[in-house]
């Protein structure tokens, strides 16, 4: 696969950061169609692009031959996004605390903090085929 592919509620991209914008457009257009407000759309877009960026760079090691898959599910009560890479996984508890004084000016390392703050739940599934991160947010229309 050398460019993004969409099929229903799924978009798959080669692991290149230039395709993060395609994921953003995929997510935002479907959430707009679902009638969600701009603030919730922004929260989802920030969180999904955050996780996709990590999947590309850390999960798949920026190997363009590896795929990141994003699945969006919207119900009247909830938005759920599943992001899957082909990497070996990581320990989320071992990420240095970005709020610690010593880390405050680090250039990287605050992505998961942001996602956990904006979303209602963040779950990790690690398997031999890759890592899946599942984020969800309740909808109060």
């Amino acid at each position: 696969m050398d460019k993004p592919e969409t099929s229903g509620d799924i978009i798959r991209i080669p692991s290149e950061t230039r395709y993060i914008a395609d994921v953003d457009e995929f997510i935002e257009s479907r959430l707009r169609d679902a009638g969600l407000n701009n603030s919730i759309i922004a929260d989802l877009a920030i969180s999904v692009t955050e996780i996709v960026n990590n999947a590309i760079l850390h999960g798949n090691g920026a190997d363009a031959n590896k795929i990141v898959q994003v699945r969006l599910t919207v119900t009247p009560e909830r938005i759920e996004v599943r992001v899957k890479d082909q990497g070996r996984g990581f320990d989320p508890d071992k990420i240095p605390d970005p709020l610690a004084e010593a880390n405050l000016l680090n250039v990287v390392g605050r992505g998961l903090l942001i996602v956990r703050s904006l979303m209602d739940s963040v779950d990790f599934n690690f398997s031999d085929s890759g890592t899946e991160i599942v984020i969800a947010k309740s909808i109060n229309k």
């Binding site: 993060i20 914008a21 922004a42 877009a45 920030i46 960026n53 990287v108 390392g109």
Partner: protein, 112 residues
């Protein structure tokens, strides 16, 4: 993301427009910021009034610019931060790190 810039009263104003999410656009902002730093420009304002949102990649670019400028006797200030970006700065405690002004004029004046 579109990116423009101007200079006023010895202060460089960077004007990104759109979203800062990673990929080539984010690299463009980072590279332009560091180009001015390499030219020994020490006063920089980033006008964020037309940035809908950014993720941690965008925050990292701001931090990188700030620390490089400060290490060279300069300063980077923010102007026109939207509610969404302000919430991200608060979540990450970066609200305590950056000088933030309602608009570019006030940010430029603060350098005097």
């Amino acid at each position: 993301m579109k990116l423009s810039h101007r200079e006023t009263e010895g202060v460089i104003i960077l004007e990104p427009k759109g979203k800062i999410m990673g990929g080539p656009d984010a690299t463009m902002l980072h590279d332009l910021l560091h180009e001015f730093i390499d030219q020994n420009k020490k006063k920089v304002v980033i006008d964020l009034s037309k940035v809908e949102w950014m993720n941690s990649t965008g925050l990292g670019i701001l931090i990188s610019g700030l620390t490089t400028l400060r290490n060279n006797g300069g300063e980077l200030k923010l102007a026109g931060v939207t509610e969404k970006i302000e919430s991200l700065l608060t979540i990450t405690k970066l609200i305590t790190v950056f000088d933030n002004y309602d608009n570019v004029d006030e940010a430029v004046k603060s350098f005097k």
